[in-house]
Amino acid sequence: MISLIWVLLVVIGVGYAAGTGRIDGVTTQALAAANNAVEMVLGLVGVICLWLGLMKIAEKSGLLDQVARLVAPVVRILFPDIPSGHPAMGAMVMNIGGNLLGMGSASIPFGLKAMAALQDINQGKTVASGAMCRLVILNTSGLTIIPASVIGLRASLGATDPTEIAATVFMATTASTVAALSADWLLKQRRL
């Protein structure tokens, strides 16, 4: 699926540029995009390392298990197939909690950590497990209470009440999360 989209984007992009006489820009843009990707990932490295460092302390000291035990009942409803003491549980709880609080990219390391732990108990190593699908969907649907970056942008541009959109965001993100989880539940029965 993602291969098809990817190829379509490139082929249509280059084809369209050729047809509209913008072919010169393609090379420049492609190279610039490659550089942007490196900058973006390098920009993430610091945050990832910092949080995984802290996470390791939390994990070794048993703090993570304590936190997970508190929030686990809610997460367990969504992930009945994960054993309650499994390391994936703690990381998922932190990831989902971080998203709710609007930590943005700071919660990504927890998500990646959870994916690694889910991969340990995944039977087909190149095929996504049901729990992985649900975790990724919870992230793509953007479930959040505090859309920090958007509020910041509105404030900087002089909105009368920058935080007023928090309410509309919450309604919309609830809709997208419920819809995505329902779609996941409906589509997972189908064998590809």
């Binding site: 699926m1 989209i5 984007l9 490139v10 249509i12 992009g13 540029a17 509209t20 843009q29 492609a30 995009a33 490659a34 942007n36 973006m40 990932v41 993430l44 490295v45 390392c49 910092l50 995984l52 460092g53 802290l54 996470m55 302390i57 994990e59 070794k60 000291s61 703090l63 609080l101 609007g102 990504i108 390391p109 998500g111 990646l112 190593k125 190149t126 996504a128 992985m132 992230n139 793509t140 953007g142 209470i145 958007v150 942008l153 509105r154 909105a159 009368t160 928090a166 309410a167 509309t168 965001v169 919309a172 993100t173 809709a175 819809a179 995505a180 996941d184 589509l187 189908r190 590809l192």
Partner: protein, 177 residues
């Protein structure tokens, strides 16, 4: 209520930064060693992520700068207008799942052009806040563990995004018009 939420958000990270090492110390583990060990893992993850992010950035950048993105969104304008979405917001729907940076830039542009308190501005801001960069997250998360067969994730996530956008348009019309 909002006051509580923002205060909570502001304090959550610093409190965690303080409490996690402190708790580790009290439990008698080698805190510094554990931190360094975890941070090393982060570097490995970043190296694994890079090719996936690069692939998305490259393809989308070529698509956008060729003018194809605009050509695709233009004929769709009457359709989205019928759904109660102003045509100015349309590029958001296409860009949001593909690139967080690009959609944030687009949002900034819309807010400057129409004003942060306009319907277009509020709707676009709600859409930006309500969903995440679907394709980026999918490639990042599955890429980090080497999963190649994504099953139904892409359609399910896109259905979620679409419902989020429609709800954003609806709720902004109800609340702000």
């Amino acid at each position: 209520m909002m006051e509580i939420l923002t205060t909570f958000s502001r304090w959550a990270l610093p409190v965690m930064m303080m409490c996690i090492p402190l708790y580790g110390m009290l439990k008698g583990i080698d805190v510094y060693e554990a931190f360094v060990e975890g941070a090393q893992e982060g570097l490995r993850i970043a190296v694994r992520i890079l090719p996936y992010v690069l692939a998305i950035f490259f393809a989308f950048s070529v698509f956008r700068h060729s003018g194809a993105l605009q050509a695709v969104t233009q004929p769709l304008a009457p359709v989205v207008r019928a759904l109660g979405i102003p045509s100015e917001v349309l590029p958001m729907l296409v860009v949001r799942p593909l690139s967080g940076g690009a959609s944030f830039g687009l949002l900034a542009e819309l807010l400057q052009q129409h004003g942060p308190d306009s319907l277009v501005g509020r709707m676009a801001a709600t859409m930006q806040g309500a969903t995440d960069t679907t394709f980026y997250i999918i490639s990042l998360y599955f890429g980090s563990v080497g999963i190649k067969h994504l099953r139904h994730v892409v359609p399910a996530a896109l259905i979620g995004d679409l419902c989020g956008f429609l709800m954003a348009a609806y709720i902004c019309r109800v609340m702000f018009v």
